[in-house]
Symmetry: C2
Subunit: 218 residues, 2 copies
């Protein structure tokens, strides 16, 4: 069955892989599944046709036959459940990998995503510097804990998993902030993710949308 | 095997069911699993003993034999996978329920949780009013979309599921803000969750911790 995902027609990051379709593309590339991409404008995302796929009017969405999903975390998990290679076979190891998926999205991502929003929306406000410093402190706390948990390991918990796809894409949003570099093992972890062939194929495909040469995946 | 969760020794909400162990207690009560509760102080949460359970030094955690999990979303999912009644049997319906779990935690919870933090931590900041208004606008947008998606249904997608446990507990944090009442079907949905016997048992157990009469679950 054909898989179709949605992505920004004009991504705010100009195709640097920060939009959340990147996670889904990467997961699909890791398991070797071809996919189609339907591009939507910001206006179209808020229309009934797109809201029928995602009631919150966001990207990405995922369609496969009669099944429609939204939320990048849920879509990556769905791909990981249906295909080998993104979740451990052992039941306990699988549960731990899922714990890290939720940790990436619910504990690490919120202050990092806020930081991006503040940089865009509150730059001219008198409190901008103070807000940014407060967020940076929260982010450093999370990253300090994550750095200890990761230690010298290549991936979050044993073999590469769907949790690493989510965590690496969450952390990439800090590139350029200087914060990643304060935690060398985390910076190396992100770089390790970026060198995976599946990551590169996904990145190139979403960049091609922006540069005017749309690709449709593997 | 005995299940042990961790919870606040002194919950900041004074036992009104807003701490994240409530979700886990509720899920365990729905599937009829007994559990022990280990209470931790704010100081203990940051100590190595607790960080061995959760590297980010937060509650709740979940221990069952050799398995240790953290992140309330992951723990609720684990309980739902291992026991009947919290996820549909049909594969597509199950995937949709999981999508709503992620939507509760990643799309609906962030601005609502921020609102609580801002009310506690930023009340004296020059940006307080502006921040609160901005967050309330974000929350209203999410709830407006959620209200349309929910319509006249009792639960998010068919039968009651783990997604409803997460969404109801996320939304309860808005009680007292006046925002829930602007969306009568959402207010009724939250009230519907609160009338479930399993919810009440979980609520009473976590309240008893605060009132000085600790219960250990069902």
């Amino acid at each position: 069955m054909t898989i179709t995902i949605t992505a920004f027609e004009r991504s705010p990051d100009r195709g640097r892989g920060l939009a959340r379709d990147m996670r889904v593309r990467w997961a699909l590339e890791e398991v070797g599944k071809a996919y189609d991409v339907h591009l939507v404008s910001f206006a179209e995302m808020k229309e009934p046709t797109h809201r029928a796929l995602n009631p919150f009017g966001q990207i990405p969405t995922y369609q496969e036959g009669d099944l429609t999903l939204f939320e990048s975390g849920s879509i990556v998990f769905h791909i990981a459940e249906r295909h080998k290679g993104l979740l451990p076979d052992d039941a306990d190891a699988r549960a731990r990998a899922i714990t890290w998926m939720f940790a990436a999205l619910n504990t690490v991502e919120p202050p990092i995503f806020d930081r991006s929003l503040v940089n865009i929306l509150e730059r001219d406000q008198p409190w901008f510097e103070h807000r940014l410093r407060t967020l940076d402190d929260s982010i450093r706390k999370r990253l300090s804990d994550l750095s200890v948990a990761l230690g010298e390991a290549d991936w979050l918990d044993g073999a590469f998993s769907a949790a690493d796809i989510l965590m690496v894409t969450v952390l990439r949003r800090l590139q350029g902030s200087g914060i990643l570099e304060e935690f060398p093992n985390i910076a190396a972890y992100v770089a390790r993710g970026e060198t995976r062939p599946a990551y590169k194929r996904a990145f190139d495909a979403q960049l091609a949308v922006f540069t005017g040469n749309p690709a449709t995946g593997s």
